[in-house]
Symmetry: D2
Subunit: 348 residues, 4 copies
């Protein structure tokens, strides 16, 4: 039995660093020394609003589900992992027995345990802690030359790769990404990796668009400054083959309908709410709108693409804070003009 320092949210805005007991790893489990963890939009919603939609923080919860570390100890029966090895932690733990799992749709598992999520009660505790015991199958090795900060990006990159899979093939496609936060920018990187013919990025702030250009965006449009600027990419009845809607803004989704060609695809990534949609355009252009939720097999692919930097996420990590300054980290993460991906680091 050892102990861990954890980043616990007690209520909206109330983050505390607390000690937690850590048991030795059981059979098929691993003790991981966590090195870095990224703050995700859902972490931020918990911190800023105490939840999102119907999902509310109802008891203290350790936040965090984008983390990586080094294996510290192996439980019995674990193979393929070694002490000292760098691993990205897959926060998904599907039951692999319900009807959805047995159809290969583990992201829709009826008994999913997803780290740091307030969806169930008791909440599933998260991974912003310097030590964690976790199932061996959730530990995905990464190259030793990769920083743990980069390795912690496996989770959001898996989200993005999953959204690409919803769209079918991206190779040769004209792609619009609405919203240039971390998910939007990762989509830019992933779409380029997948051979998109062009990727146009939008946002309501100039700073992330500046970054988008350095990352290879074909063009960027600040839709707050001038929504009409997108028109230069929109010819008769739509130009883009695929739009990834990563902003969560209803206006972005409406703009996407105007920008997508007949029979084009709009993938909505991430959590949404109620929004008004131009169904007349959905029908008249036979647009396909589909949601994308989390990931499954894509986590291992993401870890692999990060390992040899075929997708290089270093420009997206905008700041790192020690665990003790977690609150400051969350505050910075909430400022889109300064922050892309803010990460916590833990003493190794």
């Amino acid at each position: 039995m050892t102990s861990a320092r954890a980043c616990v949210l007690h209520a909206k805005g109330d983050i505390r660093i607390e000690d937690r007991q850590v048991a030795a790893p059981d059979a098929n489990e691993v003790l991981v020394r966590v090195g870095a963890g990224g703050i995700c939009g859902s972490d931020l919603h918990y911190f800023q609003d105490g939840g999102f939609g119907a999902i509310r923080v109802r008891e203290p919860i350790i936040l965090g589900h984008e983390v990586a570390g080094r294996v510290e100890a192996l439980g019995s029966g674990v193979s393929g992992l070694a002490v000292g090895q760098k691993v990205a932690l897959n926060p998904s733990k599907p039951c692999n027995a319900c009807r959805h799992c047995l159809q290969g749709m583990q992201q829709h598992c009826l008994d999913m345990r997803f780290m740091g999520s307030a969806m169930r009660l008791p909440h599933v505790q998260g991974a912003f802690r310097d030590r964690i015991v976790i199932d061996a199958v959730q530990c995905v090795p990464v190259d030793d030359a990769l920083s743990l900060g980069e390795a912690a990006m496996a989770e959001p990159l898996a989200v993005v790769l999953h959204s690409l899979n919803q769209a079918g093939s991206v190779t040769g496609a004209r792609v619009l990404v609405t919203g240039s936060g971390p998910i939007g920018l990762l989509t830019l990187l992933a779409a380029r990796f997948a051979g998109a013919a062009e990727v146009v990025m939008t946002d309501v702030a100039d700073e992330p668009l500046f970054l988008a250009r350095t990352l290879g965006a074909f063009d960027t449009v600040n839709v707050a400054a001038s929504a009409a600027d997108l028109d230069r990419h929109v010819q008769d009845r739509g130009h883009f083959d695929i739009c990834f809607e990563c902003s969560g803004a209803g206006s972005a989704l409406a703009a996407a309908f105007a920008a997508v060609r007949p029979r084009g695809t709009i993938v909505r990534v991430g959590i949404g709410d109620i929004a008004s949609l131009p169904l007349n355009m959905l029908v008249a252009r036979e647009i396909r709108l589909c949601g994308s939720f989390r990931f499954h097999a894509e986590f291992a692919v993401a870890a692999s693409l990060l390992s040899d930097r075929r997708i290089d996420v270093r420009p997206l990590i905008s700041a790192t804070y020690p665990l003790a300054q977690a609150k400051a980290a969350f505050e910075e993460a909430g400022d889109r003009r300064r922050a892309t991906k803010v990460q916590l680091v833990f003493d190794e």
Copy 2:
């Protein structure tokens, strides 16, 4: 040069029966003696509201695009048709030269001429007239034993078959159809023909649901009486593989999201407007929502399925009116408790 009697809409509510000159058929054209024509929802919108959405009647327009008749005379160069032959008239005339046509998406033709549509100006004149000259390729032969009223159903059936094609395979699928007007009921017939495992129908009126049951609906739900009745078909995270939304009501679309399983498909058929959608469910269940617009190759399939009554639409033709009583026909067509498909008949 001969003459025709036509049903002309001059303005909202202002229907007049007028004479029109009819030229002899030119090369590759056919003169058709029209026998029956069904009143479609768009005809009704023109009559009741003077248009729908941004599309307004701006000059006198002959209504009608669901018609069938007998060939009366052939222009030069026409093969495969004979005088006296029964034909369903395909109201679509794509250019077959624009970029969408050359990709096999003729329904998105950039220069489409669709009979009886106020979308272009001058409007494309319709087919509620006892004689019409039309391109030979728009005349699709039907079996001589088929009534012209049934043959006139080829157009709405083509709309429905096109929507099935958007959904992928329907065979073995659990299907929900929201809205039991003519399009919804044809969807019921087509989904059964395509081997759906079950088809559940909804509406806000009892009369069309009664008809749905006689046509083989697995179950029917009056969502105005008790929306919760649909719940008996909805198990954990959705039951239906596919929903065809044929009502045009925003509430129906919202209910569809709750009823469809993860990775299920919702096809929106027919004209829509702005609607509020639960994007949280779209994302969390990775639902695919797609629009369906008109038809192309499906018209010939529809004519064939009607010809040998593999799809038997006779129960859907609820009333027939002579051309002289067109206004009464339109008024009845607007009363969903009395009318399914109201047709005009022309003296043969």
Copy 3:
């Protein structure tokens, strides 16, 4: 402990009726009184040739995997089944834990136990026995009005529905079925159920083609009598959208390539060998050739479609033999001019 009479194959041609001990059903198991069982092509290969390809009968094996019966006793923990209930027995028992199962491809399970198969050693014993203990999940209820002989057709019908799923949507398609044995004829029924526009059947014998016509084939061609007769269905560069190759004959597959349109699909059903294929046509027409192997979710669909006779297989059951005359049954099953599906019946 009770006993069962079983049809055991000891070697090529050597069928014996023997007693076997039957234990009481364990937890989640069911004791079934088997009523009828159909002789499948693989049973026949075991009997006639001692195996097929690399799969050889290496120890005594109870044959049979197309069976149905009545529940006689329930083990503990079984729900959804009642004593006396009619059930079709699903011969597939996937592990639901290997990488293929967890992707929804249970038919490719790395640890599959399929009843009456000599693929593994010890062989998995089959179901031609009047009593069997089997997992409850393998018992699929059918309507009480359905005969057990019909219910036993759930397995080959599941094979056929699975092959339809490989082809995508069959609705409105022109379908060619090469080979009019039991699988071919079930494909005819299933393709009609799924809304095929036309189904053309071929065989090398007249008798099954005669039956095909009574079952609704659009046309039939005896390719032994005149292979050229198929040409009347083949226009410039191919006519059929989909071909189901159910004969196992190399010549049939070659003919399929000539008959299928550009971008058409050929599904090869059932066990094959080495065959010569015209790759020039595969390439020049961009034909898609895919294999179909067994079934998974389709078994329950098959049981449902049989239950209300939306697919009526009664005309396919050509003869029934009591267990004691199993050898005569196998001999008749090998004579394609007399037999379609030959079934064993067990005293109820």
Copy 4:
């Protein structure tokens, strides 16, 4: 009226350089000064064997369909092109009116005119000539910084992109390419561009495999030296998601079946013949085998990807010969140990 020097094949092995008259470009035509042209496998078959399969050279034919040049003069009505502009020439001229064209399958045009092809009689003359008049729509602009030799690779790259489109999404897939000639190596480059997780190359010669490694192959296997070497990539029931069969060898196709996972895809690229296939594996693994023929929309994509060298084909151009030495060029092109892509160059 001006003149051109052309590379004319009179019979097997009989190449002559001859003068041809060149008319001024008509309306919608362009006179192009050809700069470079690559020798394709079909050119080589014409030269070495006088044809392939049923296609035979029956009259003198100007070879060549992989060419690029500069616009020299514009016919009336041409827009979007300027004198002096570099263009890749698309050798496909579909009718855009037959039933296949109107379904977006122009590569299956019933009246296709493909440059330098002996399929029709009179043969369609090719583009190994220093001047050619061609339809403006067949001239696809490339960046002025691109060499004409690279631009001439647009055609084989289009073939390869088309084959990728047959496979669905390549992103994240494990890819096997059998055959490392120009098409195989371009497939390597294209699969990497499209985000393949890994690409393993095979061949029967070491030289192209050496090049494959420098171009980023994950591994290479000389199957002539040791076919078993491929086994290190083949785990239980197949490893690769997709195989592109680019060798034309029957043994390669058979090996592909063993290497591909259940439900995997094999795309056969290029011209084939009769081959023996293990249908037992096709069925047992439900492998999808599809042909890929030429290209359509992919030509413009290829020109774009070459223009900014997102796909850099320079390492594939192994030799260039002046037109006068065409025969030597063809002889070198036939020696796979020396040649990758051999090109003719014309005086600019």
